[in-house]
Amino acid sequence: MARCGCGGGLCNCSVVAGENVTVGGSGSPANPYTVSANVGCDAVRPCLSGGDGIAYDAGTGVIGAAVSPAPGNNLAVGPDGLFVPTGAATVSTGCGLTGDGSGGAPVAAAVGTWPYPCDPDAAGGVVVCDSNGVLRGEPRGQINFFQVTETRAYADLAVPNELTVVDTFELAITNPDACRPATVLVEREVDVDFVLPAGAGASYGHDTDQMYYLRNTGSSTMNDAHTQTTKLYQYVAALAPGAGANILLPVSMDRGSGGATYNRIQVFIRAILISL
């Protein structure tokens, strides 16, 4: 337009202001046109929108941060801007935990030192979470006790001369531990009442192990001669969790002579189940 000399009167340029536009000046170098636009906020706001993380109020035109109300969100809007506090400001550890969640003190389990000569990888216990999210350690150890005592009265039965199991006694046990096998220690006692006429002899034992022998070397009958014997041993190496077993006690006799008889056998069977 300057080439046309608009400002010099050589030609004329017509500038018309449209809507929301004003035009000033004459188009001369000394007074050039000035075009100004005047657009209100109401005209602009419909063009704007907020995406994720943006809060936009089309009524007021205020644009801010959209802070999720979901539990656990630590993002806050402060006078200085957006702020996420470090763990140290929000983490408070109790017994069994240490640290505050900061970079220098991360939250960790508070543990002791392993004082044993064995390898914790092989010998250490375990800690697990139960169905309620509670930490649980190894199953509690158990010691369970079973016992039977039985006294049988007989009709003066002859003591055999050869090794013979004359009667058998029984104790049923069950390992009540649902987790661990049990070591079973068994104690068994036997007491037999013999009637020994003069010169008679008799013996009894646990299983086939003769434990007691007596011969009457006098000239009168020995009535109800008896001695109680006992043994303690490991019956089975490991009884599986919840499993049962029958502990038998066969009472044997031999060396019966001279009319020896027995009229009573008393036994004790005791079992200690150790699950550790």
């Binding site: 016992q147 039977v148 005592t149 039985e150 009265a153 009667d167 049923a172 009637v195 009168s220 009958t221």
Partner: protein
Amino acid sequence: MATMTIAGVRPAGQLVDAYVLYDDGTASHMQVLEGQEPRLARPGRFVTAEEYAARLQELHVQNAAYVAGLEAADEARHRADFEALVGLGVPEGSARRMAGFHDGQR
């Protein structure tokens, strides 16, 4: 039967009685800890305390008669020995001790 007690120690459980008559006539008294089942090792049946006591009494009577017979035979033998010794001139007191003859006096 007698059970040892320890002051301040709680028993592992109460003993429960059970009575059995085995098929061969043997009478049995069992005791197990409460909650544990008595087990029969051979054919028999659980009975009442009264049934057990009745059978036990039968056996005791039978045993007493058997032992009484043995002791009567002992006595007769001791008497014979005593009388033989006296017949040989052994003083009566010595003969009684040597023969074990107490003439029914124990």
